[in-house]
Amino acid sequence: MSSVLDREVPTATVEPRPIDGEPDRVRQIRAQAAARFNTLGWPTTRLEEWKYTSLAPLTRLDWKSDQRHHEVPADAASPFGDKSVAELMFVNGVLHADRSSLANEHPGIRIKPLSKAMESDAFTQHFARYADYETHALTAMNTALWQDGAFIELAPGTQLEGFIHLFYLGGGAAANPVASQIRNLIVAGRGSQLTVVESFFGKGTYFTNTVTEIVAGDGAVVDHHKFEYESLDAFHIGTVQIHQERSSNVTSRTFALGGALVRNEVNVALTGEGASLSMEGLFVLNGKEHVDNHTVIDHVSPHCDSVELFKGILDDNARGIFDGRIIVEPNAVKTNSRQTNRNLLLSETAIIDSKPTLEIHNDDVKCNHGSTIGQLDEEALFYLRSRGIDEVEARNLLVYAFASEIVERIKIDAVREGVGRALFSRMRGRLPERREEER
């Protein structure tokens, strides 16, 4: 089966695209990454890591990275209103400084476009050190071609109340498809605290390939949210690569609410003792949407905790994947790790592949994992209807209840409400349609 599709994946080459005046080291990394991509080529379903996701539809289009349409759409509005402390807006990967605020009045916080941060020590020390461009083709492509993104650095001890919003808008048409290669670097110094929300919206056909590297220094507290709500014709491939040092505390939440073909990778290395990670995800799909969630949690050091929960809601002919791997290395004794994937199927034709995996290399750990796949509870549906609530609303309530476990954990009101609104609007948009089809 897969080989038929794979034959349609063309070979591709990328040329490194340096930014004017960038340091030699960055230039060299680009060249190495381009060489790696040219060796690896597009991933195919023959690779275990890409078993469930064929990139054939993506590779068939002739993506242009330099002919960019980057006007700000007239109706572009942040899903979180003006509640962020700082906001960077990018349209097809190009920063719009006039629509961005950099919160420069906050001492200890540096926010810049990444293209303007290449001389900084934090950049030199951390850039491209964590996201793997040796074996991961799409990260290699991004590393060779990236033009901009966000650079956020918190000085040791800096506490940021509120959140920083990185707002990415995509747009285009199949006739002239645009690819954006977005690159972010977030460095939270020792004992600092911050919340970052990346959100992805758009219209039409376009391709977003994004890589975010996050470094949580000793004792740092980092909340990272990715809110992916791309257009129904968009391609989105993203990697969030998190490096945790001693006693750091990271929360990573990934919301996937839209896109024709989406791959969200979240990879975390718990490298310092006593680090703690909470990784959550929610994907809500219908139509022919395809979302592949791919996570790796690597317990490198002793006494680290990780709790992972991904929930999927799939309707129509959607296809979802949860492929989560937890690795406990020989040195990582006293590891505490729990991994759960729960899925709700709303149609007979939706498909979910759930593959939770544990790889344990020492015997002094507490780990468990599991996954469930179920339908809406008919008893609950009847209960709600028996109190006068109509069937569509009752279904919506139950679906929302399933999702709310993740949404309700978002601490910042504006973000929780923004994500909740998006979720609600999606439900209202589709369930009545389903009823029409049934008649």
Binding site: E378, A380, R387, G388, I389, D390, E391, Y400, A401
Partner: protein, 260 residues
């Protein structure tokens, strides 16, 4: 108000109700008693429109409307309320949000003005006192983590808020301790009026001490086999259901004899 005529119904192709006929007038309280497996819960579920229950023949009219033709939610909006035997837990659906949505659906249907959040809370607080439920319950998921007694009290609380014309209590008394039983009965008594009717379905007579019915019916093998006043319940309590079964056997014996 409610007219059931020659109702044949069941589940999984098994006929459980075998020609049940019952008339409940406005303002009346009827009790249906019967042994396990006689069809009590089937009757409650058919009236509320629970999926998988099938009606083979017979009619149910509620205030002149064909009740069986209406979807579950519309039966509720017309004023039929079922207090369930086993209320389901729905984590993640907030109790107060759910009940406000339900009440406003009913109000909209009646052409009344919907309540805003403040008005609703005021009403809910008042009714909560009636069933002695703590306000903290309201911010939790529907029935989530409630004890058996709390679930039943929550049913009566919902009933009090929705103010139905016909309340059907499906073994609401089973598994309740004395306090909870009294609270449930008081909740139902508060609803009693010239305009409200109640159908109490129960296995035991003890609820009927607090909630005195106007009529008592005995259901056996899918039919009402005996009807009477409140004294019938006491008679049943003393003599047990065997008494009815014996009477039935005797009368069917007579029929057989007559046929010969």
């Amino acid at each position: 108000m409610l007219d059931i005529k020659n109702l044949h119904a069941g589940i999984d192709r098994k006929e459980i109700l075998k020609g049940l006929t019952l008339h409940v007038g406005v303002g009346e309280v009827h009790a249906i008693m019967g042994p396990n497996g006689s069809g009590k819960s089937t009757l409650a579920n058919v009236l509320a429109g629970r999926p998988k229950y099938e009606v083979q023949s017979g009619t149910v009219t509620f205030e002149g409307k064909d009740l069986l033709a209406l979807p579950t939610e519309e039966r509720s909006r017309e004023g039929v309320f079922l207090a369930m035997q086993y209320p389901v837990e729905i984590p993640g659906v907030n109790n107060i949000y759910f009940l406000k949505a339900a009440l406003n659906a009913v109000k909209k249907h009646r052409g009344e003005e919907e309540l805003d959040a403040m008005e609703f809370l005021q009403l809910a607080r008042e009714k909560m006192k009636l069933v002695e439920l703590d306000e903290a319950f309201m911010s939790r998921g529907v029935n989530e983590g409630f004890s058996g007694g709390e679930k039943k009290r929550n049913e009566i609380f919902q009933m009090a808020v929705l103010d139905p014309k016909l309340a059907i209590l499906d073994e609401t008394d089973s598994g309740l301790d004395i306090d909870a039983l009294r609270i449930v009965a008081e909740g139902v008594n508060a609803l009693r009026s010239e305009k409200h009717s109640v159908l109490v379905i129960t296995h035991y007579q003890r609820l009927l001490r607090y909630l005195v019915p106007d009529f008592v019916h005995v259901l056996a093998d899918g039919k009402i086999v005996k009807s009477g006043g409140k004294e019938l319940a006491e008679e049943l309590e003393q003599k047990g259901y065997e008494w009815i079964e014996e009477e039935m056997a005797a009368s069917s014996g007579k029929e057989v004899a007559a046929a010969r």
